[in-house]
Amino acid sequence: MSAIVERLKALIGPEMAGPGLAFLAVVLVFGIASPQFLSAATFGSVAFQLPELGLLTLAMLLPILTGGLNLAITFTANIAGLTLAWVLQANGGVEAGPGAFALGSVLAILVGATSGVIMGLVIAFTRAHPILVSLSMMIFLRGLGEFLTRGGDVSGFPAYLGPLGHGSFLGVPIPLIVFIACVLAWHVLLTRSKLGFNTYMIGSNLEATRYSGINTRKVIVLVYALSGAMCAIAGIIMLARFNSVRIGHGESYLLITVLACFLGGVNPFGGFGRVIPVFVALVVLQLLSSGLNLVGANQHLATAVWGLLLAGVMVLRFVATKFKISFVRKET
């Protein structure tokens, strides 16, 4: 029995405390404030909004764990989306068959990964700061995208793409299924693969990791490549949801993904952080914005409350650490 508790503790981990408490608080407060909060409608709206932000957050998570950052996530997603859009248009637009969609998706993911590989190579070989490198990539991709689309929308996609953005399978929204599959993939990657292990080690101390015989450059390039590929998946989902692609789609998500990572207990300096708490943090953010919407608050206010929530969690975490130390001291 205690073994099960131990395993459960290990599975949940200490990072879970912040987002877990925030989750309970949000559910309690809005559950009392609005009778409609605990309903299928709330679940539905959260379930459809979560995946875009969630997939981009997963793309942000890996670089942060290495002690870096990827500021190019939203533009990478949209450049990948554009790649798919052009493949579809070249194959008849609304008439395009599933084969064209498959080909376009593979190319989109390749484009996303390439953006990551380039950033990874620059970061790994020049030791330039990831913020500067990804900022350059972000500005490059935005300019490139605006040039190619002349700042407008690309639309006109086959009808079968609709369900990918709005459809459900056995009552579960399809974007959510894609997102949860990606969360699980990232969870396995980080907890069970050599790449994931080395990602954490590099985040804590790159030189010591290199001295241990790890090819740190390869790990960094792969991390950014996977980040870019995850952006591409987000780009494909956004294409299906909006039925159009524009280079500026989801731009406001960029810093929210960073916020979600920190809310999920990820160490801003790298080395520590887990996928599941980040997932819960994302759910909390969406529940909060849906709840505020239900009680009639202005939508922009939701964003302001997100900022307050993060600040609050940081303070709580500080207090909790202090409390824990004095508690342990008293015990021994």
């Binding site: 069970r192 080690m201 241990s212 015989g213």
Partner: protein
């Protein structure tokens, strides 16, 4: 057991501590400790890590408040506890091991920043600051460019800057915490001269060091603490290193030369004419199965560069390396590890181990392939691999998931050795394996090294402490300015011979 030294007795102490007790959450860090320092003496505070030395210093300087009943007498006044301000005002200064300096600021600012802020308006008088700094350095007989940023100077000069800062505060009692830990022999000699000068000018110095040779050289009296209790106060004359070690650890160590002939064994490493211009030249050496080859020499002799070249992290300009008869050419340390070479870094804190991460992860990082199951890392295999090594090397840990930084230096080093043994090496290079390891734990590390050699591992043991290689290696090479300038057999050479050559 309490034994009061009589050397120079009768003089009234400058600092006199009585009945000092300190408890941290139920753990008694200090038990009824008394401690006296006489004016102008150099007094050594000796003891293993965790014996209470730092706690005692922090009580004297007002960082901690001792339990009720304590008495701290300083120059005629008695206090029940100190405050940092009182300590500073009365002229008690501490130079911590990390120096607490500002690398980006100038030497003058580092030395004089506390003294030159006016009342109102709070402006800084840079001219006065430079003057104060220059004067303080002159008192130490040192000239440094006071306008240069401190980071332009090496650690030895920074140490002097820290001392100069203490003097600016009109110091009467200076604590030095491991001041020579990162200095070479000649720098250490210079520092000890400065300490003698301070003492002659009437400033009392309390010296904390792991290097017992210099403790004996510099101090007049030695106070030994063990597990938070006073063992005794001893005059330095008539003391020996092994006696201090015994007092500190409560155990007896009789160091004996472990060297044995290994001529019959097959050669594991054969290096011919290896060079990296500017770092080392024309190095040739062999290490046999079961043999421990010691390499000693001063810091900057090219020892670490040679080791990193053997480990594939630096490329030789010329020369050959052969492992078990086959020539090898490593393009990275991954090749070296695959070929059976392991390298324990001299810098355990920033290169050897990943301090914030778990003990278990640090142990398996170089042998992840061993804990794969179906292509994924297996938590169970990791745990069993770690348990095996922890038991084998006698590492004392809490949980495998605890950060490695929670362990003592000796236990960390055992984990670092285990990490490399898990890669099944043929050749293990140990670069300064006892840096930051307690005297008592050092013997344990060398017992492990001896056992590994007996099991057939070829070992290169690098250390700038000659006795370490003398007692623990089968052969000793002396490296100076990038060249091997001497080779000794500990069975036929004396320790004094080798030390004479190295420190000449």
């Amino acid at each position: 057991m309490h034994q009061l030294a009589t050397a120079g007795g009768g003089e009234k102490p400058l600092l006199s501590l009585r009945d000092i007790n300190m408890t941290f959450g139920g753990v008694k860090a200090l038990k009824n400790v008394s401690f006296d320092v006489r004016p102008g003496e150099v007094h050594c505070l000796a003891g293993e890590n965790g014996c209470g030395k730092s706690t005692l210093i922090k009580i004297i300087t007002g960082v901690y408040r001792p339990a009720d009943g304590a008495s701290i007498e300083f120059d005629g006044e008695t206090y029940s506890h100190m405050s940092p301000v009182t300590a500073q005002d009365r002229g008690i200064q501490v130079i911590w091991q990390d120096l607490a300096l500002f690398p980006e600021m100038s030497v003058a600012e580092n030395i004089a920043f506390q003294t030159v802020i006016g009342r109102w308006p709070k402006l800084v008088d840079y001219g006065r600051m430079r003057q104060i700094a220059t004067d303080a350095l002159a008192r130490l007989g040192v000239t440094l460019d006071v306008d240069l940023p401190l980071k332009e100077y090496a650690i030895a000069q920074r140490q002097i800057v820290a001392i100069a800062r203490a003097l600016v505060g009109e110091a009467r009692l200076v604590f030095m915490d491991e001041p020579t830990a990162s200095l070479t022999q000649s720098e250490t000699d210079h520092l000890l001269d400065i300490v003698r000068g301070l003492s002659a000018s009437g400033v009392a110095v309390v010296f904390v060091s792991h290097r017992l040779a210099e403790v004996l050289e510099i101090s007049s009296r030695i106070t030994v603490l063990r597990d938070g209790a006073l063992v005794g106060v001893y005059p330095a004359t008539g003391m020996t290193q092994s006696r201090i070690t015994e007092l500190m650890t409560g155990k007896t160590f009789d160091q004996q030369v472990r060297a044995k002939p290994r001529d019959g064994q097959p050669v594991v490493l054969d290096v011919e004419g290896l060079s990296r211009p500017g770092q080392f030249e024309d190095v040739s050496l062999t290490v046999r199965r079961g043999e421990t080859l010691g390499i000693t020499g001063l810091l900057g002799a090219g020892r670490t560069e040679l080791a990193l070249t053997l480990f594939g992290m630096l490329k030789p300009a010329s020369g050959t390396i052969a492992l078990e008869g086959r020539p090898v050419r490593f393009s990275s340390n991954r090749d070296a590890i695959a070929a059976g070479v392991a390298y324990l870094s001299e810098d355990r804190l920033s290169l050897g181990l990943i301090q914030p991460q778990a003990i278990a992860d640090n142990l398996v990082i170089s042998s992840l392939d061993k804990i794969l199951a179906g292509g994924l890392l297996s938590e169970e295999r990791k745990r069993s691999l770690v348990s095996r090594w922890i038991a084998d090397l006698g590492v004392k840990i809490g949980l495998q998931q605890d950060a490695i930084s929670t362990l003592s230096g000796g236990n960390q080093q055992r984990v670092a050795i285990a990490k490399w043994l898990a890669t099944d090496p043929k050749l293990l290079i140990l670069d300064a394996p006892t840096v930051g390891v307690d005297v008592g734990a050092r013997a344990g590390i060398f017992d492990i090294v001896a056992r590994l050699a007996e099991s057939g591992l070829a070992i290169i043991l690098i250390s700038d402490e000659v006795p370490e290689v003398y007692f623990n290696a089968d052969r000793v090479l002396h490296m100076a300015q990038g060249r091997i300038v001497g080779s000794y057999d500990p069975r036929t050479s004396s320790l004094a011979d080798i030390e004479g050559a190295v420190y000449a």
